[in-house]
C-alpha cells in the first residue's frame, strides 16, 4: 500500500523502455501429467505472437506461466533479459485479458478500468481521468458509469482491454480474447485488436484455438500440441512450409500423402498414376528426406469429370457449396481422400472424376 508505484514492479529494462518477453524451456507438470514440455519462444516489443493449439495442448498453462499465475517446474521467463520466473503477477506489471474477461461485477465500468491504477496508489481524480481516456481509446467513451451486467459481450471485451492497457503494461497477455464473440463481431474485433496491440508497442502474447484468428492478428504463431512446441514462425511459414506432418495436419486443410523425395521435386503415386510435383521444404531442412509426405491443399488441385489419362481417378463422396467456391471431397485410390475447391462445379455426388495437381509448389514434410 505504501510502496511507491514504480518500485512495485520488478525485472525488465529500466527507464520505461520495453524489452522482449521470452519463455525459455519452460516445463509444467500436474502430477504425472506434463502440461507444458520445454517450450521456448521470444516476443519482441510491438510484436504479436499467437499461441495456437487444440484444447489441452498447454497453451493456457504457457500463458499463465508468462503471466506469473503458474511457476514453471523447469525453465525461466525473462523480460528484457531479466529473470522474472518467480515474480508474482501483481509485481510484473503485465496487462492480461481473461477468456471470460473477469470484470469485477460489483464495480461500474470506470472503476474496473481504474482498478490497476488504484492498486498503484494513483489518486482518484487522476485514475478516473486515465480510465476515461482508456475507454475512449477502445471506443467506449461515456460508458464509465455503466454496470458490467449491462454491457454486451463485445463491450465487455473492450472494457477488459482498456483495463489491461491503462496500467501501461510492459507486456500484454490475452487468453482467447475473441472466443466469446459472435462471428460478425469477431471479424471486426480482429482488426481492431491488431491495431490496438500494435499501437501499445509492447510484446503481446495471445492464446487461441482458432487459427483464423491467429492468422488475422499475429505476426508470428507458436503451435503447441500435447505440451510440446511444434513450430514457431510467421503465418505464411506455418501454412506454406510446415516442418512436420503434425503442423501440416493442424494448419489449414489438406490431404497428407506419401511421396518420394527427389531433392528438387517429389513424386506422388496414387492408383498407379505417378505425378511429379514441385515442393517447398521447411526452413533449414536437409536436401532430401528418406521418407516424405506432400500436403495437397484444396486450392492446389483441379478436378474434371470423367477419366483423364494422367490424372488420379476417384469418386465424389461429398459436395459442399460455399458461396464463391464449391468444395468436393473425393475418394481416390489407395485409401487417399482429398478435397478440391473449384469456382464452378457440375459434378454430383457418386460421379467419377479425375484430379490433377496444379503448378504448386507443394509443402513437403518429413515422415
Amino acid at each position: 500500500m505504501t510502496a511507491a508505484p514504480k518500485a512495485r514492479t520488478e525485472g525488465g529494462a529500466d527507464g520505461g523502455k520495453v524489452g522482449a518477453l521470452a519463455v525459455n524451456e519452460v516445463t509444467r507438470r500436474f502430477g504425472d501429467y506434463t502440461a507444458v514440455d520445454s517450450v521456448s519462444f521470444e516476443i519482441g516489443p510491438g510484436e504479436l505472437l499467437a499461441l495456437v493449439g487444440a484444447s489441452g495442448s498447454g497453451k493456457t498453462t504457457t500463458l499463465r506461466m508468462a503471466a506469473g499465475y503458474e511457476v514453471p517446474d523447469a525453465g525461466t521467463v525473462t523480460l528484457g533479459g531479466n529473470d522474472i520466473t518467480r515474480v508474482p503477477p501483481e509485481r510484473r506489471g503485465f496487462g492480461m485479458v481473461f477468456q471470460h474477461y473477469a470484470l469485477f461485477p460489483h464495480m461500474p465500468v470506470e472503476d474496473n478500468v481504474a482498478f490497476g491504477l488504484e492498486a498503484r496508489g494513483v489518486n482518484k481524480v487522476d485514475r478516473l481521468t486515465k480510465a476515461r481516456a482508456a475507454l475512449a481509446n477502445v471506443g467506449l467513451e461515456g460508458a464509465g458509469s455503466r454496470a458490467i451486467q449491462s454491457l454486451s459481450g463485445g463491450e465487455q471485451q473492450r472494457v477488459a482491454l482498456a483495463r489491461a492497457m491503462v496500467i501501461e503494461p510492459r507486456a500484454l497477455l490475452l487468453d482467447e480474447p475473441l472466443s466469446n464473440l459472435d462471428p460478425t463481431l469477431r471479424h471486426t474485433m480482429r482488426d481492431d485488436l491488431r491495431a490496438m496491440l500494435r499501437r501499445v508497442g509492447v510484446p503481446a502474447l495471445f492464446v487461441t484455438h482458432d487459427q483464423e484468428d491467429a492468422f488475422a492478428i499475429a505476426d508470428r504463431i507458436a503451435l503447441l500440441q500435447k505440451g510440446k512446441l511444434l513450430q514457431v514462425g510467421t503465418p505464411e511459414e506455418l501454412y506454406h512450409a510446415p516442418i512436420s506432418r503434425e503442423v501440416a495436419a493442424f494448419i489449414g486443410r489438406g490431404a497428407i500423402v506419401p511421396a518420394v523425395d527427389k531433392g528438387k521435386g517429389a513424386t506422388v503415386t496414387i492408383g498407379g498414376v505417378a505425378r511429379e510435383l514441385s515442393v517447398t521444404r521447411p526452413k533449414g531442412a536437409p536436401e532430401q528426406f528418406a521418407e516424405a509426405y506432400v500436403l495437397l491443399r484444396p486450392d492446389t488441385l483441379e478436378m474434371s469429370r470423367g477419366a483423364g489419362v494422367l490424372a488420379w481417378r476417384g469418386r465424389v463422396i461429398n459436395r459442399r457449396f460455399a458461396g464463391n467456391i464449391i468444395v468436393y471431397r473425393i475418394q481416390l485410390a489407395d485409401g487417399v481422400t482429398v478435397e478440391v475447391e473449384t469456382a464452378s462445379g457440375e459434378a454430383r455426388e457418386d460421379d467419377n472424376v479425375s484430379v490433377s495437381p496444379l503448378k504448386g509448389p507443394f509443402p513437403l514434410v518429413p515422415g
Binding site: M1, R8, T9, A67, G68, Y69, P88, P89, E90, R91, R92, G93, F94, G95, M96, F98, Q99, H100, A102, L103, F104, P105, H106, F115, G116, E118, A119, R120, A147, I148, Q149, R163, A164, I167
Partner: protein, 550 residues
C-alpha cells in the same frame, strides 16, 4: 384449455391458501388485534414498563452481538478451510458444522455442564489456579452471545464457504495481475463479492438470535429479553401485555428483515460459478504448525459440548457436587428412561408429534411448491408470501398466536379448541417448518425442465399420472431433504413447545428442562443424548431412503 388449467390451479390452490391463511395469518392477526383490545391501553402499559423496555433493548443488543460474533468466527473459518491446505484440515472440516446438529436446548445444557458455575472447564480452571470462587459466571448477555456464536456461526460458515466455492477465481487473478496486493484484493474484490453470502447468513443469525429462547431462559439470570418476557406475561395471565410484546418482537424481526434487504438493495450481480480455485498449501513450517495447533483447539472446542453431554448422561444423579468431573458413573439413567413409562412418554410424544407435523408439511408444501413453480394464476404471489411468512415470525410469536386463537370452539370465527390438547404442538411445528420444506421442494422442482409436464400430458397422461410419474420424482430430493430438516427441528423443538405444552404431550425438550430444574443432570443429559441419537437416526433413514430410490 388455458382457462380450464387456470380453474384447475385454483381448485388446488384454494384449500392450500385457505389453510395457510387460517394457520399462519389468522393467529398473528389475532395477536395484533388482541394488543389493541382496550385501545392503546396495553401499549401504554408496555411503554411504561421499564422491564419491557429493557427486554426490547436487550433482545436487540443480543441479536446484533450474536451476528458480529458469528461473523467473527464463521468468515475466518470459511477462508481457512476454503483457501488453505494444512494438516488436520479434513478433521476440522468434518466437525465445523457439528454445532448445528445439536438441538438448541441441548447446546445450552452442554455449555452449562462445561462453562457453568459448576461446569467442568470452570472447575478445572478454578482448581488449577487455586481460586476460592468460580473464575467466571455463565450469566447475562455475554453468556447468551457465547452460546449463540457457538451454534449460529455455522450459518455464516456454510454461506461463506458456498460463496467462496462459487467465487470466480479469475477475478482474483485479474486483480493480482493489475497489481493489487493480497490485502487490496481481499478488501476490494473478494469481500465485496462475498457480501451477499455474508448478509444472508447475518440475517439468518439475527432472526435466530432475536427469537432465541433457550439461552436467555437458562442463562439469563435476571436478564429480560422479549421472548422470555412474553412467556412470563402469559404465565402471569397478562395476555394483553403478552400480545403487545409479541407484536413488538415480530415487528423487530420484520424491521431486521427490511433493514437487510435495504442494505443489500444495490446488488445487481450474482456470483458466477466457474469453479473455485485450488487450495493453497501453507508453505511456512511455522505458520503450518500454528494453523494445525489452532485448528486442533477449535476441533476440541467444537466437539467438547457433545462429549460432555454424553459423559454426564452416565453420571449418577445427585452425587456430582463440587468435583471437576462427575464422580460416579452408571447406566441407571438410560435404564430408567426405557423402563419407566412416565419417563418414556416424552420420547414417544416428540417422535409422533414430529412425524405428524412433517407429514403435513410434505403434503401442503409439495402442493404449494408445485403451484408456485409450474402454475400461473392470480394469488400465486400471495401463496409465495404465505409460505415464506413463518420464517419472519419468531417462534414465540407463532406459539402465542396459536394460544390466543385456538383456545375455544367457535365456528363463526373459525376457531377450534387446540390449546391443552395433543394437537397444538404438531400444528406449531408444522407452521414453523413450512418455509423450510417449501423452499427445499421448490428448488428441486425448479431444476426440472418445465416442458416435461407438458410432454407427459401431450403423450396422453392424466394429471394424476403426470403428478405421480413426473412431478413427484422430480420433487423427491427436496421432499426428502426438507422433510428431514423439518423432522429434526420438530423432534427437538423447544421455543414454541415451552409456551404451548401440557403435561400429557410434553416433548423431550421440556422434560430435559424439568430434569435440569430438579438437578437430575444425568437424566437430562441422557434425554439429550437420546435426542441427538434420534436426529442421527432420522438423517440415516433419509439417506438410505434416498440411496434406495435414486
Amino acid at each position: 384449455m388455458r382457462s380450464s388449467l387456470r380453474a384447475q390451479s385454483w381448485i388446488i390452490a384454494f384449500p392450500v391458501i385457505a389453510l395457510l391463511l387460517w394457520s399462519v395469518v389468522y393467529p398473528n392477526a389475532a395477536v395484533i388485534a388482541g394488543s389493541f383490545e382496550n385501545g392503546l391501553g396495553h401499549w401504554r402499559e408496555f411503554a411504561a414498563s421499564p422491564a419491557d423496555r429493557e427486554a426490547l433493548q436487550t433482545s436487540i443488543v443480543i441479536s446484533v452481538a450474536s451476528v458480529f460474533a458469528s461473523l467473527a468466527i464463521g468468515i475466518p473459518l470459511a477462508f481457512l478451510l476454503g483457501r488453505f491446505e494444512f494438516p488436520g484440515r479434513r478433521l476440522l472440516r468434518a466437525v465445523a458444522t457439528l454445532p448445528a446438529a445439536l438441538p438448541p436446548l441441548v447446546g445450552v445444557i452442554a455449555f452449562l455442564f462445561l462453562y457453568g458455575e459448576s461446569g467442568v472447564v470452570t472447575r478445572a480452571v478454578q482448581h488449577t489456579l487455586g481460586m476460592a470462587h468460580a473464575p467466571w459466571q455463565l450469566k447475562g448477555v455475554g453468556a447468551i452471545v457465547f452460546v449463540h456464536a457457538y451454534t449460529m456461526y455455522v450459518y455464516v460458515f456454510l454461506f461463506v464457504s458456498a460463496g467462496l466455492e462459487r467465487f470466480d477465481a479469475t477475478l482474483d487473478e485479474a486483480a493480482s495481475g493489475l497489481g493489487a496486493s493480497t490485502w487490496q484484493r481481499l478488501r476490494r474484490v473478494t469481500l465485496p463479492l462475498l457480501m451477499p453470502a455474508v448478509a444472508g447468513s447475518a440475517l439468518l443469525v439475527f432472526m435466530n438470535a432475536l427469537g432465541s429462547f433457550s439461552a436467555p431462559y437458562v442463562f439469563g439470570g435476571g436478564l429480560r429479553v422479549l421472548s422470555t418476557q412474553i412467556l412470563a406475561s402469559k404465565t402471569n395471565g397478562a395476555m394483553g401485555l403478552a400480545y403487545v410484546e409479541t407484536t413488538v418482537l415480530a415487528l423487530s424481526a420484520v424491521a431486521g428483515l427490511a433493514l437487510f434487504r435495504w442494505l443489500d438493495r444495490k446488488r445487481k450481480y450474482t456470483l458466477a460459478s466457474k469453479g473455485g480455485r485450488s487450495r493453497r498449501t501453507i508453505r511456512s513450517r511455522r505458520i503450518q504448525i500454528l494453523t494445525s495447533v489452532a485448528s486442533a483447539i477449535i476441533v476440541i472446542g467444537l466437539v467438547l459440548p457433545h462429549l460432555m453431554v454424553v459423559l454426564v448422561s452416565f453420571a449418577r444423579d445427585g452425587v456430582w457436587t463440587t468435583q471437576v468431573l462427575p464422580p460416579e458413573y452408571t447406566l441407571e439413567n438410560y435404564r430408567r428412561l426405557f423402563s419407566e413409562s412416565e419417563l418414556w412418554r416424552p420420547i414417544t410424544n416428540s417422535v409422533s408429534m414430529a412425524l405428524i407435523a412433517t407429514a403435513a408439511n410434505l403434503v401442503v408444501c409439495f402442493l404449494a411448491a408445485y403451484l408456485i413453480v409450474f402454475r400461473r394464476f392470480r394469488g400465486r404471489g400471495l401463496l409465495e408470501l404465505l409460505v415464506a411468512l413463518p420464517w419472519a415470525i419468531p417462534a414465540t410469536a407463532i406459539a402465542l398466536g396459536l394460544a390466543a386463537t385456538f383456545n375455544r370452539n367457535d365456528l363463526l370465527t373459525a376457531r377450534i379448541l387446540l390449546v391443552g390438547t395433543f394437537w397444538i404442538l404438531p400444528v406449531a411445528y408444522f407452521i414453523r417448518d413450512i418455509p423450510l420444506v417449501a423452499s427445499a421442494v421448490e428448488s428441486s422442482l425448479r431444476q426440472m425442465d418445465a416442458s416435461l409436464e407438458d410432454a407427459a400430458r401431450g403423450l396422453g397422461a392424466s394429471w394424476l399420472l403426470t403428478m405421480r410419474r413426473v412431478i413427484l420424482p422430480a420433487a423427491r430430493p427436496g421432499l426428502v431433504a426438507g422433510g428431514l430438516l423439518a423432522a429434526v427441528t420438530a423432534v427437538g423443538e423447544f421455543v414454541a413447545s415451552v409456551v404451548l405444552y401440557t403435561h400429557s404431550n410434553r416433548p423431550i425438550s421440556m422434560e430435559i428442562l424439568a430434569q435440569l430444574r430438579a438437578l437430575a443432570f444425568g437424566t437430562s443429559a441422557a434425554y439429550s443424548v437420546l435426542l441427538i441419537f434420534l436426529v442421527l437416526l432420522m438423517t440415516l433413514a433419509a439417506r438410505s431412503f434416498e440411496e434406495r430410490v435414486a
